[in-house]
Symmetry: C3
Subunit: 330 residues, 3 copies
């Protein structure tokens, strides 16, 4: 990151190859949940639903045949990279997988802008996972081709938030009027921050259940207050579970804690089991961004309300939709 | 591995995408050589032979176009993963390569069942290599999609055994009546154990040639005795070589030995050279699962009886056959 | 590497699959810039130009549909491997990526000839990056399928030299008559050695600008003297810049220096900035093999003469051309 003021995309004289369309999101970057209006979300989820139906019917189809995705992961994430790879392949496109960045020339001191400007010579769209906040925005500033943020450190992971919301839409057929309870690590959990922001575009009631030291950050509480959404904080699940339509469970990650005793004292709290779920509604869903390590007991997996593996599948559809959209094909 | 009793595939209400067929092996897992009857092997080798002819004629074809293989390797194996990747690509399908598991989220404590249930959201079939015995069976228990075992520690590596047997069938046009000699490390060699089991379905004479400390395990000798196959143990090759139709050479792997002196004392034994092969038949084959490190001298490579590189190619055809079969296309 | 005299390709009785053509370079290896005549270069650049036009018009096309590239990288090079992967995918072919060689079975003592003879069972062409000089030639000696050298240590990297020359051809529409200035690390820089050799096939004037300790090796000076090309050495850029048509900047790599003080004393020399470029012609180009770490200031990137990112794109076209040629499709 530098104080140097780079040439903008407008100043850059080289045109991308490929076809031009008037489609919404054509050539756009996907960097942050903050860039979406409610109309945008309706549009994305509409395309994602079509993708779901097409996959159910024919498995794969050649919408992006001949298009190439550069999948640039500066830190490993099997789940996210597999999902984007599958999304591209189910649309008939190809992938350049770049996973071992730590050993490669791009780590021999090359700047992210140079790496991105090289890769876009070979690809039509770039998916970037990077440990530093703002990396995707920097990449997008230099790239002529669309950049999709697949997680930038403690910053954003917008496609995760979109798949979370798509899960609610597909499973419960509405968002307005729902009671959504976010459980677990609400302080460090990037996914719950982004999801809460997206939910604030709808008429929902948000409940936050966390240990005292892992409460939702004040900045987000304030931001959502301004949008007028109803928010309440709790330290136990009991009172809110019976009225909850969506229970979003997050993992308490050891690496977020400086004090390991603190971690040990909270890690067992808020574990979901069949017994604990008895007071919950029949028609509600339990979500989790995965991986889980004990925060949802495996015995709950066969419960129809356990939506977390279906959630992974919705991730495929939302990423198929985004790739098709930014490449002007949806 | 857990005492928890998971939901079986039958209890799982979510249907796979894709077409249904009455084809044998459609939707089945490939976990162990023990699952095959002689009729199964005839069928597999018939399809594999067709694959060989198609590849010779047209290189690749679109039988599995739109299908996706998740290639999940918890330990590296260039040979096996390349072979499966090529098999999928020659059939027009795509691959999600997951090789760097050690660094990725799946190693941050996620269970194999969860990883598999995530990946099957993105893929149509899963190939799994894992260092622990039973890993593939566990994965298959949880997966809705077919799982192919590509080696589970000192357990099984069924596609290796199948390609070994296919090599014999394609090169010598029969199995019944053959004299097969297994040479080298017969104690720790997973491949010879599986091959011997498959061969016991045929009318063959088996000879085992190994140092005393690397003899074929008693459990396997007993198992094959029950099947009525003829077995004899030797410590030198001389007597059996002239009547041998198939000489299967295995590598003495350093890592199998606790005592390195023991390794040094046996590693040079049973090295194949042009001179040693002089008493052998003109029409016989020398096989090796590769990699080799000196147990077959490179000077023997140009001998027509040296079948070990052709053996690698048969591996492609048998894996093409299995992928097509479990996906209902053969 | 061994004193053993292996069977040549001619002695090897196994035929490759696929179609045969009378096309130039069909079935050939690409190992060294020394193998090319000026007529060869004209032919390659003609095909590469066609590839550029096809990509501009349709993005990708199915010239190599069904063909498989084994991309075997014994050391990482994101740029080169991504470029070859993209080249194969834009031609409709598939790739077997083998990047993690250090952990895999091929590193458990297997020889390069064995690895190559295994991989060619699965692929139609092999691209090899290896840290040892001569590795590609050794691989080609054993392989029935074409081998393309993607860099063998301090040896050669012929596709880099070809893309460098293609950049000059495409940007300036000629090579004869040009003044080409090579700047920076001329002693250890593999790319400038290969480029200088290729340029000696043309009627050019070469200027070498480097610190005293990083001068062009005497062996190359002598070799090019014999070809009659004009060569001059300098320690500063000032005098030659105004007449330069092509300024080729190279990175001073820290790892090339045994004495780190020596590195510190030269690393800042010869940095390209907008100010320094003021005396240069309007119609000239600045090239760099990338990655750069400060030897060209980012403020120069928006100058139309900055050709280094376009140069990466020409790398795609030259590799598409070579893959199509050796596979008999161009």
């Amino acid at each position: 990151m530098t104080t140097y003021n780079p040439p903008t995309r407008e100043q850059n004289p080289y045109l991308p190859f490929g076809d031009h369309r008037d489609a919404p999101f054509y050539g756009k970057d996907i960097l942050s949940v903050k860039q979406f209006t409610r109309a945008d979300l309706d549009y994305i989820f509409g395309v994602a639903h079509e993708m779901r139906e097409m996959v159910a019917r024919v498995g794969s189809f050649d919408l992006l045949k001949g298009k190439i995705l550069a999948s640039l992961f500066y830190e490993p994430s099997t789940r996210t990279s597999s999902s984007f790879t599958s999304a591209m392949e189910r649309l008939g496109g190809s992938v350049i997988p770049i996973n071992e960045v730590r050993y490669s020339s791009v780590s021999r001191g090359e700047s992210l802008p140079d790496t991105v400007r090289t890769l876009e010579c070979y690809a039509d769209v770039i998916v970037l996972r990077h440990p530093e906040v703002g990396a995707s925005a920097l990449a997008a500033q230099f790239a002529r081709k669309p950049v999709i943020n697949a997680g930038d450190g403690i910053g954003e992971h917008p496609t995760q938030a979109l798949l979370d919301l798509l899960t609610i839409v597909e499973e419960l057929h509405q968002v307005d009027g729902l009671t959504v309870t976010l459980l677990g690590d609400l302080k460090y959990g990037r996914t719950v921050h982004s999801l809460a922001r997206l939910l604030s575009l709808y008429d929902v009631r948000l409940h936050y259940v966390s240990p005292e030291i892992l409460r939702m950050p004040q900045a987000i509480l304030s931001e959502l207050d301004e949008s007028g959404v109803s928010q309440k904080e709790h330290t136990t699940l009991d009172a809110v579970l019976p009225k909850t339509d969506v229970l979003y469970v997050t993992r308490v990650q050891k690496e977020r804690f400086e004090d390991q005793d603190e971690y040990e004292s909270v890690k067992g709290a808020y574990v979901i089991t069949p017994e604990i779920m008895q007071p919950a509604k029949d028609r509600m869903i339990v979500m989790h961004p995965l991986p889980r390590v004990g925060e949802i007991n495996m015995e709950f997996d066969s419960d129809p309300r356990a939506a977390y593996f279906r959630q992974m599948e919705y991730g495929l559809y939302v990423r198929m939709a985004l790739l098709a959209m930014v490449l002007g094909k949806a």
